[in-house]
């Protein structure tokens, strides 16, 4: 048995007023500002931020605006980043306090100190990708619920362990693939799921291309930056600024490049629309241009095709408009951040009957959905297993392009088919003492 992954009848009725659903409505920023009154401190969901870079602080900023959430701590091996996050928390809460001051946000170099606190209910995981698996599994083992940034994992095996661990401990996990909470993306997916464009034969995911940089010489580690901890499970390498923070994502020791960075968003949407979010392809092949020199080594230009048992193909390429396009026998749907289009055009105003597929419509946005699920103990709109299946496709694409040939995949066993060469690329050894 598996849980329903769409609206339950109760949820549908409460949303749609027991009649047919309305056409999609663009998300309102105003709706994100919850109308909740601030409950007493003892009744708030307590939260810690792990990874205080741009994404982490962006996530935290929205949680700070929720009256029923209290951020208690931040952690980052870079003192500049964690101090900035701590200051943001304290300034925000100071503005709300009668005294005009607030000093209740702890700051940690090592995220394990944050996880050891009994008084923290949940964490934002917004570290570089090579840390995701360790932070998520340790948080789950510590009984924390997790808002985890995408892409879920660095390797296929890591994603499997992450999903298993989160489920083992019954934790609530919301993936930071916020496109699922956007009305355009949902409407596009509901059109596809409800057969409005007929049998789908091709989905194209337009992703950004990668970039290159020079051979950056090693630099002194900045004061207050625990670089060894930043590297963590990754192979030892000397510090340089083009390696860390935002740019980590262009280096395959820490990430999968744009293939995983944006694949995490658009492949997720492609799967969601197809109703294939809990399975995977049966083969993947593709070509890519990788930088031949320089520090960054993730794919620059690429195109790979994932074929599924249903016959549908998902094409991922940087030679296509950013967004997702499903092509079926009766029409097509395209959606991106800011644009939705379809053929026939009437699909844009389409409504769906009560016994059709209605994808979840979280009130108040993606992050609010996480907090609501922490309280209700229900699965959020972007669950970890589906994030794992999504990012597996991106990993398979990278593996196929690195091998320069097609790979066969068994989505049930999550193993390559008679392919020991590819099988070796399912995972990597972590630097001591780290282990999953």
């Amino acid at each position: 048995m598996s849980q329903r992954k769409t609206l339950t009848r109760r949820q549908f009725v409460s949303r749609a007023g027991a009649t047919v659903a309305a056409p999609f409505v663009l998300p309102s920023l105003a709706a994100a500002a919850s109308g909740l009154r601030r409950p007493p401190a003892s009744e708030r969901i307590t939260m810690g931020l792990i990874g205080c870079g741009g994404m982490g602080r962006g996530d935290m900023g929205e949680f700070l605006g929720m009256p029923d959430v209290q951020v208690l701590a931040v952690a980052d091996p870079d003192v500049v980043q964690r101090n900035a996050a701590q200051k943001e928390v304290e300034q925000r809460y100071a503005a709300e306090s009668a005294s005009g001051t607030y000093k209740g946000c702890a700051s940690y170099n090592d995220f394990r100190d944050l996880l050891a606190r009994d008084d923290i209910d949940c964490v934002i995981q917004a570290t570089p990708d090579h840390w995701h698996a360790l932070v998520v599994t340790k948080a789950a083992r510590a009984g924390k619920d997790i808002y985890g940034e995408k892409p879920l994992s660095l390797t296929i095996q890591q994603g499997r362990v992450m999903s298993d661990t989160v489920h083992r401990y019954g934790r609530v996990f919301q993936t930071g693939s916020q496109q699922r909470s956007d009305g355009r993306f949902r409407h596009a997916c509901e059109l596809v799921r409800n057969g409005r464009i007929g049998k789908v034969h091709t989905v194209t995911c337009g992703l950004p291309g990668g970039s290159t940089t020079g051979n950056n010489p090693p630099l002194p580690v900045p004061d207050g930056f625990d670089y060894d901890l930043w590297l963590g499970p990754a192979p030892a390498a000397p510090y340089c600024d083009q390696r860390t923070h935002w740019n980590f994502r262009w280096i395959l020791d820490y990430s999968g490049g744009q293939v995983t960075d944006w694949g995490a968003h658009h492949i997720d949407i492609a799967h969601w629309g197809l109703g294939l979010a809990r399975t995977g392809p049966i083969s993947v092949e593709g070509v890519a241009e990788f930088p031949k020199d320089g520090l960054w080594n993730a794919a620059i230009d690429y195109r790979f095709v994932a074929k599924y048992a249903t016959g549908v193909e998902i094409v991922c390429t940087n030679a296509f408009e950013n967004g997702v396009k499903w092509e079926g026998e009766d029409g097509w749907v395209f959606v991106s951040r800011g644009r939705i289009d379809a053929e026939p055009k009437s699909l844009l105003q389409e409504t769906f009957g009560p016994n059709e597929v209605h994808l979840l419509r979280p009130e108040g946005g993606h992050r609010r959905n996480f907090i609501d699920c922490v309280k209700s103990r229900r699965e959020p709109i972007a669950p970890i297993e589906e994030a794992h299946r999504t990012i597996t496709v991106a990993h398979l694409g990278n593996i196929a392009m690195q091998l320069g040939r097609e790979v066969k995949w068994n989505p049930d066993t999550e193993r390559f088919v008679d392919d020991p060469q590819a099988e070796r690329m399912r995972d990597r050894a972590m630097r001591e003492p780290w282990t999953l």
């Binding site: 009848r9 970039s211 020079g214 030892a236 890519a288 699965e379």
Partner: protein, 875 residues
Amino acid sequence: MKDSDETKKMKNNQQTWMMRGAIAAALSGAFLVPTVAASAAATPVDAAIAAPRADVWEQAAGFEQGKSRVALTEIEGLVTTALKGDEAQRAGVAGRLVDLVSNAQATTAARAFACRQLARIGSKESVPALAMLLTDAHLSHMARYALQRIPHEEAGKALRESLAKTSGELRIGIVNSLGERRDAAAVPIVDGLLTSADRDTALAIVEMLGKVGNEAAAEVLARLERMRVPGAATTPTDRLADALLRCADALATDGHGKRARELYSLAGREGHHRHVRIAALRGLAFLQPIETAPMVADLLTSKDPLWSGAARELIAEVGNENTTLAYAGLLADTEGEQRLRLIEALEERGDPNAAPEVMALMLTGDHDTIVAAIQALGAIGDDTCVSSLALLASAGSEDARVSLSTMPTPNVDAAIGAALGSEPVSEVRAVLAAALGERRAAGQVPALLKAASEDRFRDVRIAALDSLGVLAGGEDLGKLLGIAAKVEDPAEASCAIDAVVATAGRVPDADARTRRVIAALGSTPAAEGKASLLRVLGRLGGERALIAVSGQLYADGVVGASARAAIAEWPDGAAAETLLGLAKTGRTPAVREAAFRGFVATAGVSGARAPREAVELFRRAFELAENDAEKNLALSGVANLADPAALDLADRFLAGEPTRRRAALVLVTVANAIGDRDQGAARAAIERATGACPDDAEVRRLAGAALDRLERFEDYVTLWHYAGPYREEGADGTAIFSVAFPPEPDGPEGAVEWRDVPAEAIGEPGRIDLNAIASTSNACAYLRTIVVAEKACRARLEIGTDDGVVVWLNGERVHENNVMRALGLGADVVTVLLHEGANVLLLKVTQGGGDWGAAVRLRSEDGRHQDGLHLELPG
């Protein structure tokens, strides 16, 4: 870009991007195009891979981080090629890599690189050289990087043997790798180490045993767990507990249920943290779903939401159809809250096998149970539930009506369609007809057409017509027109008109559908039927329909009345001019009045014409208005115009008593619509409205709401021109920050096309969504406005952008932040000096990918509202 290194990086980027053009062209073509090696064969590097330079291995041996890695790339290419080749080719390349690994003269970085490649291509022959490095503090990890993935027993043996030669973190790393390999032979060895190992190593061994997950590992873990003092507190991050659970999961998967149960039981003991005990319960429930069902069902009513939530989730997830039956079987023995929660959990499980037990409760339970059961059937019910639910729905149960509409089983539609033809009770038939529409049961259109035309009861016919409006296709239009032409009852006629209009909308050719309606009009003898079809034409709109309806405007009785009603509600903005003309030249007052109403309804329709053109039409309409009632009517149309010019029109009627109130309402309505773009005009209009009608409650209420909305936008700059997006070949979202385009004060010369930021791109509070203007990546755009200061003052700019930003004030660069980030309000704060008079504020907003936007707030230096400032758009 200030220093030479960065300039070099830029050039490097640009060169690479120039190459990318050719690659992108190949990639966008037919799949599969050239392999990577073949596609770039013209480059020196790929030529070298095809025929490696003699000194490539020597160059690689001297590799250092931060130096060129071209030689390494060549070797990577050799490995990729060899992997596609035969055993001899692979052995040859692996042998060279082993030589490099073993080369004490080679750099650490070079030997680490060789280990990486051996992870891909290494064989058992590679193991001895790699094993030598396991004790090397700098290379042990990279040796494991290879050995962990070499699928030969020799690799495991080497790792096991190195346990005795290492200590501290290196040994922990080796233990970790043995765990990842699930090395059963290592279990007794690490067990032997436990007594003498330091704490960190012991914990690493515990974790490793959890991953190995066999009987032997379970025995060690169980022994360690039993050594705890029973009930003693553990830490939340207890690693032994985690290892027990992980080992148990592996054993359960591998069919060792008895041992798995033992471990779950140990992990579920008192003293372990709640999340560990919940995990143990989950493990047991998956292992023995039927045996644990009563225990799990009991937990549904736990006061601890974590336990009750876990129980609900387990009931939804575990086991198979027999588990469903086991849980459904418990329903009869439960009561009260627990029974309600169990019904809800079974609903979430979604297995129709539970439907009979749930249906039994629907017929026999108490009120709350009946309601819960009805609701649950919406998810798990099947065709056997149709009659009961329809009967309940006809008796007024809204829950039953919804469940009838949502039951997912495929054969439900046919069951409802059949019942519609055979059910003796008319109220039940009406429910069934409505359910088919709600279910989008397109296959049941014939049954609905039959009911709409033949059923003896009006309510059934109306319900069928409503559903046909949802379901009927263009091919059914003729039959529906036939029904509409015969209907006499007004309510039924209204439904028939709705159904025909909706169905006609599915005929792709607008002219063809209008012609079909006109043809039906011509062949319909009954006045009531003609009246209905005229209303249909009025709803469809279009020039041909307007001509047809105009031909009946002066007819007697219901036909003429219907034609006049049609033009009074004409839907088609393009007809506004014609209607205005008819309002002037119509032969009877009734026709002139209807046309005037039609004009008011259509002239302000959004999208039909520019708001300023609509304002001009209304000016002419006011000239035609013969009395105050018509002026007020026209004013109600002006309220639809979201344009400052509409305010001038309303102002003209603010003085006269009969029109003052309506004019004031127009002012606040239009002010509300334009407030996000022109706060000054909006506030002034609201002030005029409340000044004219100070005691009017409705005016004050609307004014208050409009002011509240303006407050949310307070001090946010929403009046912008934009230019762009701009791109540069080879520049990504970070690099484009430094590329100057013509809008910049120091940018290259070139024409700049400034445009208004459209209303749909402006969100709250003051967020400009640049993706709504042009969804793109690796680009930038410019936003420009003029801040007019009554006197010179210091002001604070609170800037949030996604991604980076450069700010110029009066041509001076006052702020920059080259960053990839989400939009955070006030993320950057800059204090600036505003001159008296006009100050040009210019922003450059960069875009890597994804969301793209800006929000700028202009406040006093201490963060409050700054008086004496307003915004203007450059001319």
